[in-house]
């Protein structure tokens, strides 16, 4: 009996496929209401971002207004220009600060992806004593807020002689647990064990399996890791661990312009925008990959 009713409905369903029909259980009014509601909520959520955007183009006298107006009335690029004139007159060339950020990002991202994926692969696809304990510690570390152990962390880094070098910006990020967790979950759902067994029977060494078979398959995952680490490293300020002028990342150098005082309010507004745009842009570009990886981010155990 069930199958008969099934066939009838299928024909109706096939018919409904052609014109826009979001599924059997949706009324047209519901969709429009949903859309309008989302637009309203989106607008409210986006006002602060809009405020930061407009502030960057406001001339000084509009920035000093209270209560501040949301939109600018006489937009100007003066704030960005004051940053470039100041940076061009400093001994350490602007190119060096950009190089520092790029160098730190590339090295940290590369090692993070390689090492974290290797660890994730071993944790997911191999069985060795202590595996479950390590996985649980990693899940626990997701809940971890760095602000809590700031001083012990600092002492460990200084004992290792990393303070005021590039390594203090790179190594702690390479050990990040969020990337490993996402990679592990993605491997679990998208790499069948039978594939690995076959390769092992053909005599392939673990490393060759990892590089030739596993990594190409988990492309969306490590692309997401690439995106998240670029997002994190772009905004790295390392303001309490790096002191020599020539080693400072871009964000740290720019934020010190804003500390110049009231006269630098314009530059500070422009810098806030510079800080927010790249991570946002990266997210927009990589949204599809990020969402694919996130799909498998659920907790099975």
């Amino acid at each position: 009996m069930a199958s008969a009713t099934k066939t009838v409905d299928l024909k109706k369903l096939k018919a409904s496929k052609k014109k826009f029909n979001p599924g059997p259980a949706r009324s047209r009014g519901g969709i429009i209401a949903n859309f309008l509601f989302l637009c309203l909520v989106g607008a409210i959520m986006f006002i602060p971002m809009l405020y930061v955007f407009c502030n960057a183009f406001k001339p000084m006298d509009e920035l000093f207004l209270f209560p501040p107006k949301l939109f600018f009335r006489n937009p100007t690029l003066a704030n960005f220009k004051s940053i470039s004139t100041l940076m061009s007159s400093s001994w350490v060339p602007f190119s060096r600060y950009i190089f520092n950020t790029v160098f730190v990002t590339v090295v940290a991202t590369f090692f993070h992806i390689i090492l974290a994926s290797l660890a994730a692969y071993v944790l997911e696809k191999r069985d060795f004593p202590g595996k479950n304990f390590i996985s649980r510690v990693i899940v626990l570390s997701l809940m971890f807020t760095p602000a809590v152990t700031y001083i012990p962390n600092y002492i460990i880094q200084s004992k290792l002689g990393m303070i005021d070098t590039y390594w203090v910006m790179i190594i702690p990020y390479v050990g990040g647990s969020m990337g490993l967790y996402l990679m592990k979950q993605f491997m679990a759902s998208s790499i069948p064990n039978v594939l690995l067994e076959a390769a092992r029977i053909d005599g392939a060494s673990e490393l060759r399996i990892f590089t030739q078979i596993v990594m190409p398959l988990v492309k969306p995952a490590w692309l997401t890791m690439l995106m998240t680490s670029v997002q994190a490293m772009w905004g790295i300020s390392a303001s309490t661990v790096v002191f020599t002028e020539a080693k400072k990342p871009l964000q740290y150098a720019l934020s010190q312009i804003a500390a110049g005082g009231i006269a630098r309010t314009g530059s500070a507004a422009a810098i806030s925008l510079i800080m927010i745009v790249p991570p946002l842009l990266i997210f927009i570009l990589a949204q599809t990959q990020i969402l694919d990886t996130m799909a498998s981010s659920g907790m099975k155990d």
């Binding site: 971002m49 930061v52 660890a119 602000a147 997210f283 927009i284 907790m299």
Partner: protein, 313 residues
């Protein structure tokens, strides 16, 4: 089950040990692959927590070597530190309200977004996800709720004639906690939200068609019986994320309400740690608070994980 004699128990343990040794032998290379990542992970994530736990048993004023004082920190913390009690109350109050509300918003919005076409969905996801990576854009709330009679909210209320003199949102203890929650909720659509959005997309259409066949007519039944159960892993991950976020509220209160806020009205555990660590230079005591906070987070995570497993039964 017949009770095992001691000899049998010893035998089982022996075989376990032999099995374990064999497992070691043919999987020794795993440790080698784990070593580089594991070492860094241990040094910069696990060790600081352990060090913090160890330090919580000492008096350490940051500028001189720590001296061991046993459980004194915990005794003063739990027994005589009433500011800590208010901090825990505030943190729980914020966590209990913003946690679920933020979490429901994550689920609801990702579910509503799922209805949109691919183009609009991508834009809407970006708009809703933007606040959580917007760095310090939340300072606008400080302007919105400024105590000045020309502030946006005060200004409109005065124009509408609802109040005749400005409300001090930022320094009057009655209003501060609500403004703080509003900001935390505004920032709550973070990684958890993304995983939900992705989760919704993995449920293939056929399940809905099958559900329609079995008599599910409206949207709500569909949600409870099909959508949520199949998205359980994402829901649990989002739960972990929202717990972490609501427990680690600290920067928001310092920027908007100052640290410490009036009569500790929005003083969170993280603020308490910063107060003792960076202002009073009592680092041992601050580590003790951090350890208690960590324990609180792990415990509440366990409880919520168990509750979530019942979804859809």
């Amino acid at each position: 089950m017949a009770t095992l004699s001691s000899a049998d128990k010893k035998a089982i343990r022996a075989t376990d040990r032999k099995l374990l040794k064999k497992k070691f032998q043919n999987n020794w290379d795993c440790y080698l692959y784990m070593l580089p990542y594991g070492l860094i992970f241990f040094l910069f994530t696990v060790l600081p927590v352990l060090a913090s736990i160890v330090l919580s048993f000492t008096y350490y004023n940051v500028l001189e070597a720590p001296t061991f004082i046993g459980l004194d920190n915990y005794r003063t913390l739990l027994a005589s530190d009433d500011i800590f009690i208010t901090a825990v109350k505030n943190t729980l109050e914020i966590a209990v309200i913003t946690g679920p509300v933020g979490y429901i918003m994550c689920v609801m919005f990702s579910w509503l977004i799922n209805e949109l076409g691919p183009k609009t969905r991508a834009i809407m996801v970006t708009i809703l996800y933007a606040p959580s990576i917007s760095g310090a854009a939340y300072t606008i709330f400080g302007i919105m709720f400024s105590g000045d009679s020309y502030g946006w909210v005060n200004g409109t209320l005065i124009n509408l004639g609802l109040i005749n003199e400005p409300i001090q949102f930022m320094t009057d203890t009655d209003y501060m906690i609500w403004i703080c929650m509003l900001v935390v909720i505004w920032m709550s659509l973070g990684t958890g939200f993304l995983s939900n959005v992705a989760g919704f997309r993995t449920i293939d259409r056929s399940q809905y068609e099958a559900g329609y066949v079995e008599g599910i007519r409206n949207r709500w039944q569909e949600l409870w019986f099909i959508t949520l159960p199949s998205m359980l892993p994402q829901l649990m991950f989002a739960a972990v994320m929202s717990i972490t976020q609501s427990f680690s509220v600290g920067a928001v209160t310092t920027i908007l309400f100052g640290n410490p806020s009036t009569d500790y009205a929005v003083h969170t555990i993280l603020n308490h740690i910063e107060d003792y660590g960076n202002v009073r230079f009592e680092m041992g005591y601050a580590c003790a608070i951090a350890t208690v906070l960590f324990a609180l987070m792990v415990a509440s995570n366990e409880i919520i994980q168990r509750a979530l497993r019942k979804v859809g039964q």
